[in-house]
Symmetry: C2
Amino acid sequence: MSLVQLESFVAVAEEAHVGRAARRLHVSQPPLTRRIRGLEDDLGTPLFERTPRGMRLLPSGQRLLPRARAILDAIEAARTAVHDPPALNDDS
Amino acid sequence: MSLVQLESFVAVAEEAHVGRAARRLHVSQPPLTRRIRGLEDDLGTPLFERTPRGMRLLPSGQRLLPRARAILDAIEAARTAVHDPPALNDDS
DNA sequence: GGCCCCGATACCGATTTGGTATTGGACGGA
DNA sequence: TCCGTCCAATACCAAATCGGTATCGGGGCC
């Protein structure tokens, strides 16, 4: 599992469409398809149902989605925290 | 930033020693040195002080450490959640 | 001054990754 | 029913990434 895979998963889940998600992520469609497939392989379970219209989240994917978002948010928070020392307490 | 980098960072922070951390992670020392360097480059700030005895966390690294651990834990939790459907509620 | 322990770097081969082109399947309209 | 369209999946190749071995450079410590 990688952060790139999680980011890709969230984008595809939100767009319900690999092509649109690819445009949003500034990559072409095939690598994005492979990222999703790689994530499913890593987890050992499918996350989406492939329909003729696009991608629909399976229950497993629905369970992953909020956690994936939380992880990506935590990454951003960590990035910020490294740079922002907490405000000094007057007592310290 | 990648999960591999975060995992490497936590190991080096805990061991205070690139060589020991490398053994623990089952990689050789040079790639681990590069992962740490890559993370520092990505964040734009050093995380460790290099001493003749090993590595010591800088304040920036101290701020990152608990967050890195939390992220790695969240990854494991997500992995588990995908496989474990929540117990059915009798009311549902 | 010589030895030892540490992380950093050079170099090379292997793996991974991305892009273009193409395929195959499912709809929808004429 | 056949053709055009839209979707994800795959084949293929080039570029980038990554890991390992060998080596370097700097500090301590006899």
